[in-house]
Structure formats: C-alpha cells, structure tokens
C-alpha cells in the first residue's frame, strides 16, 4: 500500500520536474524503515531529505506531499449552489478561532480550519479546480482582516504598549493568520483529493518550476523569486568569462626552478611555473527594453544589476529605437527598484515611437562606443530581434563583432518563431559567436555553463 502510494508520489515529483533517481527512491524506502511514519512531520522530513535535493524545489514537493498524503476526508457532496444549507454558527467559529490563534494552539487551529472549510468553502463535487477559489471564499467569510484587528485589540488590552511593540505584535499575528491560511489550503486539498483522486488534483495544481518559468510571461512574484537565483549565476558567469585556459600554469619559470633545486642538491625536482593572470574581461551588455520585451527586459536588467557587482568593467546599455548607457544607474549599493525607475525616466531610449529598432540602436552603439571595443571585450545582446520591419543593419553588428572578442545574442523567443514576421535574428546570426534561445532560467544556466570564450588566435570568424 505504502509502496504504491510512494510510487505515485515519486511519479508526481518527476512530472513536476524534480529529478528523482532510482537510487534516491531506494534510499527513501530504506530511510522510512527508520522513521516513525505515524508522525506526519517526521515522515515528510524523511521524504524531503532523501528525494528533493534542491531548496527551490521545496514548494513543488510540499504541494505533491499535500496531495499524495492527504488527510482522510469525506468527499464534498454534490449540492446545487442555490440550496441554502442550514444556518451555521459563524460567530461561534470566529470566537473559537480567535482564541486558538491567540494561544497558537495548532491542534485546535487545524480542527477549526477543518470546520471552516466544511461550512464555508461550499465545495462542489467534480469541479476541476485547483482550490484557490474555495480558499478565498473561505477566507472572505472568515473576515481575516477583522480577525487580525480583534487579535491586536486582545494583545493591546493587556496594557499600554509602545509603537515598536505594537508593530512586532502585528507582524507576529500576521504570521499566525498565514498559518491559518495554510491549514485551510491543506484542508481544501485533502477534500479535493477525496473528490477527484490524487492524480487529477496533482495535475491541476502542478506549476512549472521557477527555473522553467517562461521569462516573457513571468509574473512579478516569479521575477522576485528569480532574484535569489540570479546571483550565483552571475558569479559563475564571471569565472567562466575570466577563464581562458583549463591549464592554470603558465610558462616554465627557469629562475625559480633553479632556486628551488638547491634544496634537493641541484636536481630540479619541482619545476616552477609562472602564474597566469586571468584576464579581466570587459563586458558590454545591450538590452532591448521595449514594450513587447517588458518582462524579459526586467529580467535582463535584474541580471545586469547582479552582473555589475561581479565585473569591474561592465558597461550596460538599454535600447528601444535609441540606445543609452545605463551603467551609472547600477552603481554598487544602488537599490534595484530605484535603478529601474531611473532608467525608465532618465535614460533616453526612445527616438521616434517606442518600437524596437535594432539597426538604429546598433548603429548608435557602434558610433558612440565602438572605439572602446578591444580584443578583450565581450558583447552580449538580449532581445527578440523583432525590428518592426526597419532596416536591421547586420553589417554594423559585423563591425562590432570584428572589434570585440565575442558577441553573444540571447533571444527569449521560442526557436520556432525565429525569422518569422519581423524577426531578423537570422541576419545577425552569422556575426555572432553564438545565438541562444534563453526563455527560462535553466536555459540561461546552460548558456553560462557552456559558454566558451574564443581565445586570441582562434577568434571565430563570420561564416558568411
């Protein structure tokens, strides 16, 4: 029984994108033999420790756990919406809930959450929903804001408190309301499972992992979550771009070798090498910040912001149909949100109408900053190369490519859409060291993992 259930659970984790290997499955089984499985938390910790080895997969794990090891609950009866159920003692429930939250009595909160869902969620059998609707419906009727205020009143009734104390109490109580909310959510999921079965519910609840979220359509909270993940990536990027040779040793240092050989009686046992100074690359980042790219642009600017702390020689540029340098907005210590605001208001990236014009922007970059490009410069362009049927001027990119060491183009559009409509990525492609589809964080990771900066001699020439 448990084995079947675990099998299904692991299937679900895999379906959600979490890599669970065979070995880990066996480990989980073995670990469960040493676990008190009647203790739900211990059971969950064991599965978490053996199956999910990445903190950012934890939310997906929680969700699957809730569904697969749902509490036994009766399925909601099918009743029509306009059939008024018997009057329910809402005030009684609220009073009890207030008390339980004030004492942080978890067992009671859980029991009351169960009652609340039963009475207030109005769950209907067979509806293929994820439960968010039921959650808000329940919370609305519980009037959580009012609940918070009453709890605050209860806390301050104990005596006069300072402003600081009041603030701390409020935050703490808000935390408790969140606990209640989570309990209600778990309860609703249990009931959904009872109604429709595990697989079906798991499927409705499944969300793409954060690293697989499409950056063109990411929500604000997705972008905030990405923030955390970007920092380590930029660090990796910095080391990848700086490393040119796998071999860290330089030429033989004859003088040093001879000196060293004195301690071994003149036999040069330890050859000494000159150390190689890793070259510090200069990075030029060009971001399309036009309307169609708004979400992606926010992401690339986020990336730029994080990169700025890694490279001393990084210059960033934003463009729509005109290009402007934005390096100064990303000075160390500057808040990202503030930088974004300043770019929006102060940078002059619009020339005519605010539709992307790649040709013009590249041209502008080349005339104004081309002189700064050296064989150590790396140019990274991010954008969909949709230039609104304006002249793409690929020859300008070619000149840029000749002056710089490498040009990388990161395109957030699916590969299938490239060169359709007004996309001119194919015209730029011959001049780039590499063109990549980067639609999500995983692809960006792959790019950084595999990026090889061409060396001096073997600079990649345009294939055209």
């Amino acid at each position: 029984m448990l084995v079947d259930l675990l099998g299904g659970f692991i299937q679900e984790l895999r379906a959600a994108g979490i890599p669970v290997s065979m070995v880990e499955t066996i480990d989980a089984m073995e670990a469960l033999r040493h676990t008190d499985i009647s203790d739900r938390q211990a059971f969950k910790s064991t599965l978490g420790a053996t199956l999910v080895k990445n903190a950012r997969h934890h939310a997906a794990f929680e969700m699957a756990f809730d569904v697969y090891f749902a509490l036994e609950r009766p399925a909601p009866e099918s009743r029509s919406a306009d059939d008024p159920s018997e009057p329910y003692d809402l005030d009684g429930l609220l009073a009890e809930l207030e008390e339980a939250l004030a004492d942080l009595d978890m067992a009671r909160i859980r029991a009351l959450a169960r009652n609340a869902v039963e009475a207030l969620a109005g769950m209907e059998s067979g509806r293929p929903v994820g439960g968010t609707y039921y959650l808000y419906r329940t919370l609305r009727q519980l009037d959580v804001d009012g609940l918070l205020e009453r709890l605050m009143g209860r806390a301050s009734a104990a005596g006069s408190v300072s402003m600081l104390e009041e603030r701390l109490t409020r935050e703490e109580l808000e935390g408790r309301i969140r606990i209640l909310r989570d309990e209600i959510e778990t309860e609703i999921r249990s009931r959904l499972v009872a109604d429709r079965g595990r697989e079906a519910v798991a499927k409705t609840l499944r969300r793409p992992l954060i690293e697989e979220t499409d950056l063109m359509h990411a929500t604000r909270s997705d972008l905030e979550a990405l923030d955390e993940l970007i920092k380590p990536l930029t660090r990796k990027m910095a080391t990848r771009l700086a490393r040119r040779r796998r071999n860290k040793r330089g030429r033989l240092d004859f003088r040093k070798t001879m000196r060293r050989s004195l301690s071994t009686g003149g036999v040069p046992v330890e050859p000494q090498f000159k150390s190689v100074h890793p070259s510090r690359p200069e990075v030029f980042l060009l971001c399309d910040t036009s309307g169609s790219m708004a979400t992606f642009a926010r992401f690339t600017l986020q990336f730029t912001y994080a990169m700025a702390s890694q490279f001393s020689k990084l210059r960033s540029f934003a463009f729509i149909d005109a290009l402007d340098e934005v390096t100064a907005f990303f000075e160390p210590g500057v808040d990202f949100a503030a930088a974004l605001r300043r770019i929006a208001t102060e940078a002059s990236v619009v020339y005519l109408d605010g539709h992307s014009d790649y040709g013009r922007s590249l041209e502008q970059f080349w005339t104004a900053y081309g002189g700064f490009l050296t064989p150590r410069s790396i140019v990274i362009v991010t954008g969909d190369a949709r230039t609104n049927y304006r002249d793409p001027r690929p020859e300008v990119l070619r000149e840029i490519a000749e002056a710089a060491r490498a040009v990388y183009w990161l395109n957030p559009e699916p590969y299938a859409y490239w060169d359709t409509g007004d996309s001119v990525i194919g015209r730029y492609r011959p001049h780039c060291t590499e063109v990549r589809e980067v639609r999500n964080l995983r692809q960006l990771e792959d790019f950084i993992e595999s990026v090889v900066v061409p060396t001096h001699g073997a600079k990649v020439r345009a294939l055209s």
């Binding site: 290997s21 211990a42 420790a49 600081l164 046992v269």
Partner: protein
Amino acid sequence: MSDQSLSSPAEVQDALRSVDYLSDDRISQVVYLAERLSKPVLVEGPAGVGKTELAKSLAKVHGRRLIRLQCYEGLDESKALYEWNYKKQLLRIQADQGTDWVDLESDIFSEEFLLTRPLLEAIRSADPVVLLIDEVDRVEIETEALLLEVLSEFQVSIPELGTVAATTQPLVVLTSNNTRELSEALKRRCLFLHIGYPDPDRERQIILARVDGIDEQLADQVSRIVRSVRSHELKKPPSVSETIDWARTLLTLGVTEIEPQTVAETLHVLLKYQSDIDRVAAEFADS
C-alpha cells in the same frame, strides 16, 4: 560524552541541546537518518545559520574528532586526498644507491611516504571521526568528483597502494552556501538538509543558550525584532550569528528594554550593507 548511537530523533535533539546546539524537528530527523543509514548529510542554507556549527556539535555529542576540509577554488587531489612525499622519496633513492630497483620501488610507494590530507585522514582514522567538508560549492564541478568515492564507499583508491577503506564509519557533513548548483552525482549520495532562518521561538532559545547573562525578556525582544528586520527585502538579511552579536552588543551596552532609538544606533551590528541599514532605520524610525 561518549560515542553512543542515538536511538531516536528526539534523542538526537536532546543530545545536541546538551552541547548548546538547538536543532528543530527536521534537523534532528535528518541527522538521525544520516547516522542510521551511514549517509553523508548535505547541509545548505544562507551563511551564518549554523551549518558548520552542526558538524562541530555532532563531534562534541559523540566525543569524536572533527576533521575539516575547507573547500576553495583550486582545491585538488593533493590537498584533499593524499600526496606522495616525493622529496622524501628522492632522498630515499639517493641514500640507497645500488639497491635493486624493484625493492626500492615497492619501498618508496609505501605508507611511510604518503602525506595524508583530510579525506584520507578521515578514512584511515582508527577512531570514528566527524568529517566536515565545508563550503563544497566553492570547488569547481570537476573537483567534486574527488569526493564521490569517499562519500558513497568511504574509501580512497591510491593507484600505487590499492584501496584504503574506512575501518570505522565517519559521520560526514557537507555544507554549501548554494552559490552554485552541485552535481547530481554528489547530491544523490547525500541526504539533503536545508537550514533556513529559525523561527523567533527557536532563535530566542539560541540566544539564551549562546549569550551568557541575557535575560528572557531581552532575548525575546531581540528575536522578534530580528524577525521583523528579516521580513524586509534586504541584500543580506541578518543571520543567526549576527543576531547573537547584536544580543551581546545590547548586553554590553546595558540595554534592558529595546527602544527604536537603540535599534537605529546598533543596526550596523546586524546589517552589513549601508542601503540595508538605511532602509530598516527608516522603517523603525516611524514606529
């Protein structure tokens, strides 16, 4: 304290508490499993939440020696596993001119000429040890492979000597600050434990255990304020070690009750970026 096996997660928790390490249910569950299954634990989480401390405390609990391998970029076999002491080998060859080469060869590749580094040392130790592989995310992904044999088989292969297997089972703890993704191969061999910031209640207990002479009320206030500070969007939220520093500072200053003014004046102990300090100071000035 003696080396005894702990028979339940609750016992692990108590034992850790007795050496002033306050774990929670999850931490003790995973540590318990690690001991039971003889598997390494990979501990991940932000800096300063007690990842390294966990390994140290486990060593104390079991009365074992702690062997530490601090990882860094450029760490290689000769620093992590073993190295032949070739200067000594050379002297040996020079001292023994005329000896048959076959004898000499088997002689100079014996344990006498081996310099053990932390991993081999942990494997060869006669008494069981706690092996701490600290900040494993700092080594390059290629170097990670060095660890794999030690982690899954508890053995080290030395071409000239054969395989050195552990006589006693070391308890292995790896820590990572998650600055990069570790390889699947490494993760597969470990139990995973994420340690985040503690809830105010646990943090209060940590303060009480770690800061001598602090009273319950101040500890309570400190932990609640720190939680509030962490809820802001910060570049670097205060870690547990910074909380402890802050509590000590307040104690030294003779503070008994924290006022917004005190918070603003001592914020630099808690936060390490000027922009963070400004932001939180502004928040607290209003209240």
